[in-house]
Symmetry: D3
Subunit: 62 residues, 6 copies
């Protein structure tokens, strides 16, 4: 606790994930007063055909 679940389009590199979890953990520790060890971050990569806004799949946008 805190546990942070992130939903993002697929295609992030390992280096991006590494930088993201480091930066978000630091932001969480500084603003919420948590210890680093208590911060879990789980990344969920999604295909564009599995996400829609305004009734249209992102895979259908050009």
């Amino acid at each position: 606790m805190p546990t942070i679940n992130v939903q993002v389009f697929e295609g992030r590199t390992l280096e991006q994930k590494r930088a993201f979890v480091k930066a978000v953990t630091e932001a969480t520790v500084q603003t919420l007063g948590a210890t680093p060890e208590s911060v879990d971050i789980i990344i969920h990569e999604l295909k564009k055909e599995d996400w829609a806004t305004a009734g249209r799949l992102w895979s259908d946008r050009t």
Copy 2:
């Protein structure tokens, strides 16, 4: 907002997803008074071996 997460067994076609997000967005706009642009829908396809009801995996049902 609203953000709608849908868990469903895998095997839906792209056409089914397209029709689903269109229809659910319209239903949301009409009943909750949201704008279409504010409606996000995220689809999560699951394998039958990852879903159980009454203590039995769906992949074990014939």
Copy 3:
């Protein structure tokens, strides 16, 4: 299955929830080929101070 989780700002009336789950269930049955009995919908109402876009809480927008 399908299980549908909806996140929305608080303040929906019981009548809106009733209409919403009816319409979304029908949309799901028609587009994904599920039976009505298999469709679960769970509504999560959120306070504006618990949702942010672009780094600003919705309770801070006027």
Copy 4:
């Protein structure tokens, strides 16, 4: 209802999943007073590069 979502590292065997959903369903029935048929369990397997604790991806731990 109850609906139980489990996030776990990938690599579980089918036999482990089968034993897990059986045992957790029994535990739920006995302690919460639910019927077996009302218990749904959904398993989400995650890669080590998609989970971080203390700002470090589990794929970076040796």
Copy 5:
């Protein structure tokens, strides 16, 4: 990891929650080979007006 999120109707006693998390943690440790310390369980209590099956809110069932 594992992290287990449970959605259940409101009205569980503290004693029921205590028994539930103990039993589910034991079931998880025995079947998935996790350590007890690695098992997190998060309980979400829901009102009957926020859960629907087959297009009807549970608060509308008598």
Copy 6:
């Protein structure tokens, strides 16, 4: 997209939430290459009696 759901113990002040969503949005923009407008953050505050680690509720720890 990205959509970030955060689970944390209750008791955060409005000022902490405000600082948290600002810092996490900046961290996301810088590391994942998203625009600020595309970042949604949803905060879920939980009671200590609804979170367990190692089979014990946090409300039972002194």
